[in-house]
């Protein structure tokens, strides 16, 4: 039996005890004797309290106790569960592990977690929740997940934890506590200041399963490229790329007018060609009409977010490799490999103002100037230090299911309406029993009121 509001149940117990006490300690009705000269008895209110060892009016008491129990049970949200398991397990795969972790190691880690920490109710991939209906077949779910092509998208460890936390109340149904397994690489995708705060919302320990990286990280790789912008002098894009340091070993060419054969040849030779046209759309992209939907307020890339008004001018192909994303996850810039180099197409309208000159914008633009094929490497990735890892793991205690309910639980259990209906019917029965009880034994106060009228009818009865 589960109780949504235990304090209501305790209150019901107290009320029932009070009713029983009232049936044990009450104003008693004296025994009745027929006296023809009753009119000569002075009108007085007399009360006598007596204690009985057994409750009086047992039937009325039972009905009242049942009414209170029904109402209390309905308000307390009592639900019945046929079977409960002590622990439910949720596996959360951090975005970095999903993108850069070793796929075999990730599969092994998932299978090991499923076998060791059964039953597994859900797997969270980045910020995607996959609920497992049949925990005994969770391994099959893993196989299916690993075969599903993943669209690389930016994510944070905090977002993964937040997704797990939000799903926890639902996933904890039928369990006493909940275990959270976190599969991550040595380096997480992005650490933010919110990580600690979000971690604090998980009321238990987190078991971290580290997996190795599949690809090498590319810290500061982009800084070894020289960037050339072919554009007019008053171009804001050119100004933005001009802030890149000139420590070039390889060439990056940002094209603002139109792409030529020489540019393609340079790309084939190993250069990074960034095509950000002042007018028109990249080849293969579909034009977007300037509507309210085409106006975006942010741009995401390189682990940073630039909050500024941007115009979406074209939509990339579905299978294109994205470098920069709009807030809805669609590609704002893509990469197309070409022999030793690559061509990067940008579908962002030229922004007004100095939005591209900010620090965040520089980080986003640096994604466009990184080495070809290394676009998924995290320029801002960072390894968690030991203190962060300790805070992330927390203590040894698992999260209690009751503590995972972030909001008021749904008090409308399936029994609520029936319990309230039963209480209503019993109230009718109680009123009938009470009326009969009053008729049989009478009530002192009512009697006194009648006696007043009676004395008025027999004035000689009053001394």
């Amino acid at each position: 039996m589960n109780v949504a509001f235990p304090w209501v149940l305790w209150g019901t117990v107290v009320a029932v005890a009070g009713v029983i006490a009232a049936h044990l300690l009450s104003v008693t009705q004296p025994h009745a004797l027929r006296l023809p000269t009753v009119r000569f008895i002075p009108v007085r209110t007399i009360r006598a309290v007596s204690r009985a060892s057994a409750p009086r009016d047992v039937m009325l008491l039972l009905v009242r106790v049942t009414i209170l129990t029904c109402i209390g049970g309905a308000l307390a949200g009592i639900t019945w569960s046929a079977a409960r398991v002590p622990v439910h397990t949720v596996i959360a795969v951090e975005s970095g592990a999903l993108l850069f972790g070793d796929a075999t190691a990730l599969r092994d880690a998932l299978q090991r977690a499923i076998s060791e920490y059964a039953p597994v109710r859900a797997i969270i991939l980045g910020d995607t929740l996959v609920t497992i209906a049949d925990p005994s077949r969770a391994s099959l779910t893993v196989d299916s997940l690993m075969r599903t092509p993943r669209v690389p998208a930016p994510g944070t460890l905090a977002a993964t934890l937040l997704r797990a936390r939000r799903a926890a109340p639902l996933l904890a149904e039928g369990a006493d506590s909940m275990r959270l397994l976190l599969i991550s690489t040595e380096r997480v995708d992005v650490t933010t200041a919110a990580l600690d705060a979000i971690r604090a919302t998980w009321p238990g320990s987190i078991v971290r399963l580290p997996i190795p990286l599949q690809v090498a990280m590319a810290d500061s790789v982009s800084s070894r490229f020289s960037v050339t912008v072919r554009a007019t002098r008053d171009d804001i894009v050119a100004a933005a790329f001009a802030q890149k340091p000139e420590l070039a070993v390889r060439q990056v060419l940002v094209i603002r007018d139109s792409m030529t054969r020489a540019d393609s040849a340079a790309a084939a030779a190993g250069a990074v060609i960034v095509v950000w046209l002042r007018r028109g759309v990249p080849p293969g992209w579909s034009t977007i009409v300037d509507t309210a939907d085409s106006r975006e307020r942010a741009l995401i890339g390189g682990g940073r977010v630039v909050v500024a008004p941007f115009m979406r001018i074209a939509r990339a192909a579905e299978n294109a490799t994205a470098l920069v994303w709009w807030p809805d996850g669609s590609a704002a810039a893509t990469e197309e490999p070409l022999e030793r180099g690559c061509i990067r197409w940008v579908g962002i309208g030229t922004p007004a103002g100095d939005a591209l000159l900010s620090v965040d914008a520089r980080a986003v633009l640096s994604t466009l100037t990184t080495e070809c094929g290394a676009t998924f490497k995290l320029a801002t990735s960072a390894a968690l230090d030991s203190a962060q890892l300790r805070r992330l793991a927390g203590g040894d205690a698992l999260a209690v299911a009751a503590a995972l309910r972030v909001s008021q639980p749904n008090s409308r259990s399936p029994f609520t309406r029936w319990l309230l209906l039963a209480a209503l019917l019993l109230l009718v029965v109680e009123s009938v029993l009470r009326a009969r009880h009053v008729r049989e034994r009478g009530v002192l106060s009512a009697r006194s009121r009648r006696d007043t009228d009676d004395v008025a009818a027999y004035p000689e009865a009053v001394a």
Binding site: P30, L33, R34, T37, D454, A463
Partner: protein
Amino acid sequence: MPTAAAPLALGPLLDALRGVKWPTRERVRAGMPGTHRAAQRGTTGEFTEFRSYRQGDDPRRIDWRLLARSDRAYVRITDERAWWPTWLLVDASASMAFPAEGDAAAFGRGAISAADKWSMARALTVGLAAVAHATGDPVGLWAATRPDARRLAPRTRRGTVHAIAKALDAIAPDGAAPLAPLLARVPQGVRVVLLTDALGDSDALLAAIARAGAAGSDVTLVHVVHRSELELPNGFWRAVDPESDAVQRPVNDALFAEYRANFDDWRAELARRCLTAGARYHEVVCDEPVAGAVRRITGAAMRAGA
């Protein structure tokens, strides 16, 4: 549904009342020959005096021997003797069934040993009927029962007393049938005895008594009171009016004195109003011997003492 009480034991009661007379205080109206002195003088019966003959007297009443001796015409004057119909009106309301069968033990030893009010009223009725019948008077019964009053016309024949006793045995006190309407229907100039606790229509009853007295009837109110009405049982209990469950009052020892004062005052006032209305008032407590009460009512005890 109330049940009739056990039949009265007539034998001891009638034996105890043998020889008791119930004379009138004044001359009765002329009627069938009986034992009571009639207001009308006649020539038959017991000689009283001689009176000079006056024109118009019946010549057959002239004492011819006295005329021969004194040469004067005298007529013989005698007292007429007439019977006096006696009506016994009995209150058979629910209040007369006191104490109730289940309540007698609660009212104490006195309530168990003494007769209940209805039994006392029955015994008094039969006793008075026997005395009146022995005097030669026709005796009738009118019991205020619901829904219809039980009536036995006045008779002098043998078996009348037993018929009255049998009729009373068949009555179970119930409801609140008033006595006053019955008293209003009783013929004038008769003896009427009301046996009641007077707890019902006392005002109407007193008014009817006054009217009957003015019409020449001799009315006696026998007020039947039970000892348990005078001395309430101890403890905390609830008094319920037998004639109306709506009238209930809690009782404890602290209220006894005030109750008794109220009851005494009411009884005294009732007696005073009876006397004022020209009726006689006798209070009979149920633990009093029936024969003694009958003698007291009929005046036999007073005559014997005198």
